[in-house]
């Protein structure tokens, strides 16, 4: 395929072109490159427990008539020590995490790796088509999962070390940093695997990494605050065969160019994204998106967006051709009751004709008591073969991108009820497709939060 026309369109959009409310833009959160087709994806949310507090959560999860599974979690955050333990039958986020900080440095033992630079040696690289702002608004942490022990000594002049097990390899890495600049050396049991230099500031982040076979990857991302809005540019280049050390499956395209623009406004908040990419195999892809968020009277808001996608997002995958989509979302209400309506259609043809996936969604949320909410959400979906349709579902510590295939409907009821003994949250979802049987999922959680002794109230 040729990407030149799309390049022009993407950059016209990108350079010509909203801030995200709590969940606005959630539908644009993309799953990681290595996520399996038609499977749910669970992304961890950062800072799920407030400062100087400890939270205990006990619960049960069930699916259909299968036996219920227990879920337990303990999270705490103090001034110099924080941690969490999650345990659940098939919880993809289960595991323990412990970290601390002191004047001399910080340390953390965790199942997820830190993000150094752009993630080419330590961490995970971002996909060029991902919506970084939507992910930031949802406070998502997308690092690879394994086992990691990390420590840092110093401040402006610092030394960091990482030892861990990722992608079936034991990995050790050292990073020496001076203010914004850093030098990284990463190795496995087979010897030094790569070196890299990085630069990270509020407006500029870049990394250049070189592996032992002299293959390289470089990425630079810059954000410019201008009167016309915030402009972001990302450039990636490198050898076709270079792979990210910790999570090779997420290495993505070897060449990419991306632009993003958004502008804060009292009434109109536009944002746009454009990206072009090329894999080492020569396969290419492109994306251009424009979305406008409008504030309406009585705290209501309307979001309208359109997007065009071309090419592939995975190396050696079947070409999908062009996809055009549009969506509209209305949100309104008060503290007592709120409503969300969303329509979304994607098609093979221009103006989203010849639809391949579509979704209609309505949600109603009612305050049932002070601090208590009842939310009912109903979605009607249709997704053709090979199409990916995922419905985001928000939880206190995670976002689950629920994979929906075929044609059907999904209803979700969630009730949060504060009680003197803690907070109770009950959820029930029912998915019915053209092919029976329908299946149900349910969740019951009890959580109790307490402030740590000596913490300011």
């Amino acid at each position: 395929m040729t990407i030149r026309p799309v390049a022009a369109a993407a950059f016209a959009v990108g350079l010509a072109l909203a801030p995200l409310a709590a969940q606005t833009g959630a539908d644009t959160i993309e799953p990681p490159i290595d996520a399996a087709d038609n499977s749910d994806v669970t992304l961890e949310r950062a800072d799920s427990v407030s400062a100087e507090s400890v939270e205990l959560e006990l619960g049960l999860d069930g699916r259909g008539t299968s036996p219920a599974r227990r879920a337990r979690a303990l999270r705490f955050r103090g001034s110099d020590l924080e941690g969490s333990v999650r345990e659940g039958g098939e919880d993809p986020l289960s595991g323990a995490e412990l970290g601390g900080r002191a004047s001399a440095g910080a340390w953390r033992m965790s199942r997820k790796a830190p993000q150094w630079g752009r993630g080419w040696l330590v961490g995970a690289p971002a996909a060029p088509w991902s919506d970084a702002r939507a992910e930031a608004a949802a406070r998502l942490t997308g690092g690879p999962r394994g086992d990691a022990a990390w420590g840092r000594l110093g401040g402006d002049t610092r030394l960091e070390g990482l030892a861990g097990h990722f992608a079936r390899r034991d990995i050790a890495a050292l990073r020496a940093g001076w203010t914004c600049a850093s030098l990284t050396v990463a190795s496995t049991r087979a010897g030094v695997q790569g070196v890299g230099i990085g630069y990270e500031s509020d407006s500029l982040a870049g990394e250049f990494a070189l592996d032992r076979a002299h293959r390289w990857r470089g990425e630079l991302s810059a954000v410019f605050e201008r009167p016309v809005g915030r402009l972001g540019l990302t450039v990636r280049a490198g050898s076709a065969e270079f792979r990210s050390l910790l999570v090779p499956a997420r290495s993505g395209p070897s060449q990419a160019l991306g632009a993003a623009w958004d502008r804060e406004g009292r009434i109109v908040r536009p944002r746009a994204q454009g990206a072009l990419w090329r894999f080492g195999s020569g396969e290419t892809g492109a994306r251009g998106m424009l979305e406008v968020d409008l504030s309406l009277a009585q705290h209501a808001a309307l979001t309208l967006g359109l997007e065009e996608q071309r090419g592939v997002r995975r190396e050696h995958s079947a070409p999908r051709g062009m996809r055009q989509g549009w969506w509209g979302e209305w949100r309104g209400g008060s503290d007592l009751a709120a409503m969300e309506l969303r329509l979304e259609t994607w098609g093979r043809g221009a103006r989203a004709e010849d639809a391949v996936r579509a979704m209609s969604r309505a949600a109603f949320e009612v305050r049932t008591s002070p601090g208590g909410r009842l939310r009912v959400e109903h979605a009607v979906f249709r997704s053709g073969s090979g199409e990916s349709l995922r419905l985001p579902e928000f939880d206190a510590d995670r976002v689950v991108l629920r994979a929906l295939t075929g044609a059907g409907e999904r209803t979700r009821v969630e009730w949060t009820l504060p009680t003197p003994a803690g907070r109770v949250r009950a959820g029930w979802s029912y998915t019915a497709t053209a092919k029976p049987p329908a299946h149900t999922q349910w969740t019951l959680r009890w959580a109790r939060r307490a402030r740590l002794k000596g913490a300011p109230s």
Partner: protein, 251 residues
């Protein structure tokens, strides 16, 4: 129930689909779509629906809203003794001046089922509306959950907006493709003119194109409404409703 389904599918008339100029329309809209009506603290309504091929249905419903809680109940009987079904519905929700939402459920008994077929069918769903400047928006998923005998009319998630100006109501509604049916979304537009106690409206639907006209009149507590819906092939469907309403005090 199959023949009735074929008729009802095009007429879009269900047990408690009381005709009215507005989508939120007494205990009928609550039982039929989960949309509570806060305008009446108490209401009772009877509905007679005449489908083509001499098939008819009669319904009786009662409901109201008070102190933020809305409730409605109703019973219906369709068809003849040998070929027909009976239904009983219940709806419960909250109602405020600016927003309301509710859940609705309906159980049907199919008289035409053989001893080897299930006799009972259950459907449950929810709906809600919210005031916006110049009107209201609503969403209704009346058949979010189904079990047993399939209902005569499959219904999908509908989202609508109604705009008001003095003497005029205009609404447009989109119904998502219904479960198990390969189809596109359906759209309905309605324009109503209102003079004191009398309303008249015209309605148009797509896929296939068809229309309807309706008239509603109220005098004191008495309310009478009728609507005629065209059918793409057969004779029109006629609905006639008579009811009594006790208006809620303005808060």
């Amino acid at each position: 129930m199959l023949a009735a389904a074929l008729l009802a599918t095009e007429a879009r008339a269900q047990e408690f689909a009381v005709p009215g100029a507005s989508a939120v329309n007494g205990p009928g809209s609550f039982l039929d779509r989960g949309l509570p009506d806060i305008r009446a603290s108490g209401a009772v309504a009877a509905l007679d629906t005449r489908w083509p091929l001499d098939l008819s249905e009669r319904s009786l419903m009662i409901g109201g809203a008070r102190h933020g809680v809305a409730a409605a109940a109703g019973v219906s009987r369709a068809g003849s003794e040998a070929f027909g079904w009976s239904g009983a519905g219940l709806a419960l929700g909250f109602a405020d001046r600016l927003a309301a939402a509710g859940i609705r459920g309906l159980i049907r008994r199919d008289d035409g089922a053989t001893e080897f077929e299930p006799h009972l069918g259950v459907e449950a769903g929810a709906g809600g509306w919210m005031r916006i400047p110049f009107g209201s928006v609503w969403a209704s998923a009346p058949q979010a959950w189904l079990d047993g005998v399939a209902p005569p009319l499959a219904r999908g998630l509908s989202i609508g907006v109604e705009l008001e100006s003095p003497g005029v109501l205009f609404s447009i509604e989109r119904e998502a493709p219904r479960r198990g049916i390969v189809e596109g979304a359906g759209h309905t537009a309605r324009l109503a003119l209102v003079w004191s106690g009398v309303s008249a409206w015209i309605e148009a639907r797509d896929d296939p194109w068809r229309g309807g006209i309706g008239l509603e009149a109220s005098a004191g507590a008495l309310r009478v409404a009728t609507q005629v819906d065209s059918h793409p092939v057969l004779a029109p469907t006629v609905r006639l409703s008579v009811g009594l309403e006790r208006r809620a005090r303005a808060s």
